[in-house]
């Protein structure tokens, strides 16, 4: 099955689309509870809109599925256009969809899923840092995109050091770039605050900001052994993939090397966002899924050890079916 996805042909894209739809059917079949506490004003707006115009569970699942598939196509586009992986394929998108569909609550529309769109766009803009004649523009874009993401999930503030590290690594150490990044993050927040202030509704935003400053970013992961089984398959794959990247690192072009390193730097930030969330680690998985999808694709795109890779994929799929349909809650 993997052979089909190892290419970037039209048939591979169609197969990827069908596969994505199949893996995200749960939300249409069963009622999934989704608990979101004290969302930010922007997230509250989206949730209220959904509640008013698309209140049913399958409608939320439909919007979420469309968003995840769009994000996955964009991940594929980043991978292929920026040559993050040595071969063009639909595998990064495929694993992005898989990682965003492991547990049942991931089937529904969440503020984290919306915020993840901006994080993917941010990664895309950071890819241009290396070749850009004037890096200040990608830096501004990246800052604004993170700022937009922050409006939906304040925990994305964790990615501020990631942007700063990427700027230093992809360009050169320049205080002006760092300051521009920090200032541009505040731009969407400033406009939202001004809008809410004019409408006399700024208290919710202030509450969210106070909470973001005051909250602990190192909480228990809250994962049970049952929910952790799938990671016994994924973690060795990631380790092998990281080793492969390290082994072949200097065979790549300079830009690819830097992009790969940026992806690897993103992993600990994704892991931190799992710890920071108030919502259970499942809903923060989209953030981690961005770098992991590239890493997993890097492992599966190679044709060596074919059967082991097929079995690994089968085990991941079996675990997903179990989590989505058979596991209680």
């Amino acid at each position: 099955m993997l052979n089909l996805f190892r290419t970037n042909t039209l048939s591979a894209l169609i197969a990827f689309l069908i596969f994505s739809i199949l893996i995200r059917l749960t939300g249409f079949i069963i009622d999934i509870p989704l608990y979101i506490q004290s969302p930010t004003p922007a997230a509250q707006f989206v949730l209220n809109w959904m509640h008013q115009y698309a209140p049913l569970g399958w409608q939320s699942a439909l919007v979420a599925a469309l968003l995840v598939i769009l994000q996955a196509f964009f991940i594929n586009f980043i991978s292929n256009s920026q040559q993050v992986i040595f071969k063009d394929s639909v595998l990064p998108g495929l694993f992005f969809v898989l990682l965003n569909s492991i547990y049942a609550p991931q089937q529904l529309l969440t503020p984290q899923l919306i915020a993840n769109t901006f994080l993917i766009l941010l990664v895309f803009r950071l890819c241009f840092l290396y070749e850009s004649p004037n890096p200040i523009f990608p830096v501004i874009d990246a800052g604004i995109l993170l700022g937009l993401g922050l409006l939906f999930d304040p925990d994305l503030i964790l990615y501020l050091p990631f942007i700063l590290l990427s700027i230093i690594y992809m360009t050169k150490f320049n205080v002006r770039y760092l300051l521009v990044a920090i200032l541009s993050i505040g731009v969407p927040l400033y406009f939202l605050a001004a809008f809410l202030y004019v409408n006399g509704n700024i208290s919710n935003l202030l509450e969210a900001l106070y909470y973001t400053i005051d909250k602990s970013y190192f909480k228990s992961l809250g994962i049970t052994l049952e929910k952790g089984y799938i990671w016994f398959v994924i973690l060795p794959i990631l380790t092998f993939s990281a080793l492969q990247i390290q082994t072949n690192f200097f065979r790549n072009k300079v830009k690819t090397r830097r992009l790969q390193l940026m992806i690897i730097i993103m992993v600990p930030f994704g892991f931190l966002s799992l710890l920071a969330g108030d919502y259970g680690f499942e809903l923060a998985l989209p953030y981690l899924s961005i770098p992991l999808s590239f890493l997993m694709a890097n492992y599966f795109v190679r044709t060596s050890w074919k059967w082991i890779k097929e079995i690994s994929l089968f085990l991941i799929l079996a675990a997903i079916v179990y989590y989505q349909y058979l596991m209680k809650n």
């Binding site: 009622d31 999934i32 509870p33 989704l34 608990y35 979101i36 506490q37 949730l47 959904m50 509640h51 209140p55 569970g57 939320s60 529904l108 005051d214 909250k215 602990s216 190192f218 909480k219 228990s220 992961l221 809250g222 049970t224 049952e226 969330g277 108030d278 919502y279 259970g280 809903l283 596991m327 209680k328 809650n329």
Partner: protein, 497 residues
């Protein structure tokens, strides 16, 4: 060969005599066991002791007294040494309503907004002895978001045997001038016994819930009051009720409290699981604005659902004189501002009541900042004398006692107040003699015949110590675990009576 035998007999005699002499002393001695002092990390100033099992002692730490978010759960060994300390793992994104030991198993009760169904779900999440979640959380109760009252806490508590869980909360009514009282009870933490909703003819803002409890049979009791339409000044403007829901009959009984010339100021209730009665006790004044100088004691049968006793009386002036501080024109000569802290049922149908004088004073002061006059407000919480009443089963006063103290605290955190621990023979009252660093921890003990004694329980000699009275838990019939601040460090203490 004979001499050693004589010596042996003498030794036995002396030993028996010694035992007889020492026996009365043994009844009123206390053993104190200290945990290891710890720094207060990340401003987690508040502690809530959940309880103790054979596996260890569990407690929560939090930055505020809500314990609803950013909660740390800790496990201690029986010698009070810390074993585990982690942030409370929540499987869903919600607010912690309560963490309880039910049948010696740890359960976290979470309220969370389910955006899929637009309901507020109350979930029970079981934890193992290593503070790991066991399975997923179970939804035990759901209600529409439209009825949810954010500022009103959902009350979750166990029965005395810690085998059942009761949940009580108010929700908005469907009509503008009504509210709903929601009652749920569970065998263990998740097996529902009943879930009922009752309409109240007042808005949620007007309804005041004083107390809620469930007995060992799974019956639920709520003490509440709401306004009644009466001519102002003639009778109490609020209607006070004890609501008792009996699931076996599927009926709610409403026992009206108060009566003619009774303006209820303070009240509380207790469930007597031993002789199957509910006792309601309170203070009243005879007219609005007058000194509170009367008390009432009502008792209801759980078995027959009948009112067994309805007693009200003015407190005799000589008793008031004994209980209250010397006369002063400045302060009312009544039981105004006395708040019932604990009602302890007696096996004969009587009760013992401890009430503490509590006042809140706002002090306004002026100061200059950059040559600009500014006004500041300081709120001082005064915790003064504690009065103890022993009330006979017929309502008459058996004896009274008073603990004289003057405590003032600024802000929410305080070492002020009292910890009241009923044991088999005594009612013990613990408090800090002074709230500054030179104070001792005092123990006032009174037996059920009215014999009282006061002594220094922990003397401030080699270290500064202050008990946090609001943060204690009676973990067995004769022992408690409390949090203390010892040399500015958080330290647990176990006191055995």
């Amino acid at each position: 060969m004979i001499k050693p035998n004589i010596i042996n007999l003498r030794s036995v005699f002396y030993l028996i005599m010694a035992l007889f002499i020492l026996k009365p002393l043994e009844g009123n001695t206390q053993a104190i066991e200290w945990g290891s002092p710890q720094k207060i990390k990340n401003k987690n100033l508040f502690t809530q002791i959940i309880g103790e099992t054979s596996n260890g002692l569990y407690l929560l730490r939090c930055k505020n007294s809500d314990f609803s978010a950013e909660v740390i759960i800790e496990k201690y060994k029986s010698n009070l040494s810390q074993e585990l300390s982690i942030s409370l793992p929540l499987a869903v994104n919600g607010l912690v309503e309560r963490v309880l030991l039910v049948n010696n198993e740890l359960f976290v009760f979470i309220s969370a907004k389910n955006v899929s169904t637009n309901t507020i779900d109350i979930l029970a999440q079981k934890m193992d002895e290593n503070l790991k979640n066991v399975g997923g959380p179970s939804v035990i109760c759901s209600f529409p978001v439209a009825g949810y009252l954010e500022r009103r806490k959902i009350q979750v508590k166990t029965n005395a045997a810690k085998t059942m869980v009761g949940i009580m909360f108010l929700t908005k009514g469907t009509e503008a001038n009504e509210s709903k009282l929601n009652l749920y009870a569970y065998q263990g933490a998740t097996q529902q016994i009943f879930g009922r909703q009752f309409s109240l003819e007042s808005t949620h803002k007007e309804v005041f819930l004083t107390a809620f409890d469930i007995d060992n049979e799974g019956n639920a009791y709520v003490l509440l009051d709401y306004p009644k339409t009466v001519e102002k000044g003639s009778v109490d403007s609020r209607a006070f009720f004890l609501y008792a829901y009996y699931p076996d009959l599927d009926k709610m009984f409403a026992y009206e409290l108060g009566g003619q010339d009774q303006f209820i100021e303070e009240l509380g209730f207790t469930v007597n699981n031993f002789n199957k009665t509910i006792a309601v006790f309170g203070f009243y004044s005879v007219a609005e604005g007058k000194d509170v100088n009367g008390y009432f004691y009502n008792r209801y049968s759980i078995i027959t659902k009948e009112t067994l006793l309805r007693f009200q009386s003015l407190v005799q002036p000589e008793i008031l004189e004994k209980l209250l501080p010397p006369k002063s024109e400045k302060f009312p000569q009544g039981l105004d501002n006395f708040y019932i802290r604990k009602i302890i049922p007696r096996s004969d149908g009587g009760i013992m009541v401890a009430a503490e004088k509590y006042t809140r004073v706002e002090q306004r002061y002026n100061y200059y900042l950059n040559n600009m006059p500014m006004e500041g407000v300081r709120v001082i919480f005064n915790y003064d004398d504690v009065v103890l009443w022993s009330v006979n089963s017929d309502g008459s006063i058996h004896f009274t006692d008073v603990v004289r103290k003057k405590q003032s605290a600024v802000g929410e955190i305080g070492n002020a107040g009292v910890a009241i621990i009923p044991t088999q023979d005594f009612v013990h009252i613990l408090y800090n003699s002074d709230l500054d660093s030179d104070g001792n921890v005092m123990l006032h003990s009174i037996n059920y015949q009215g014999r009282a004694e006061e002594k220094v329980l922990i003397k401030n000699t080699s270290f500064n110590i202050s008990l946090v009275p609001s943060e204690f838990r009676q973990v067995s019939a004769n022992s408690l675990v409390a949090s203390t601040i010892r040399d500015k460090l958080f330290t647990l203490v176990r006191i055995k009576f």
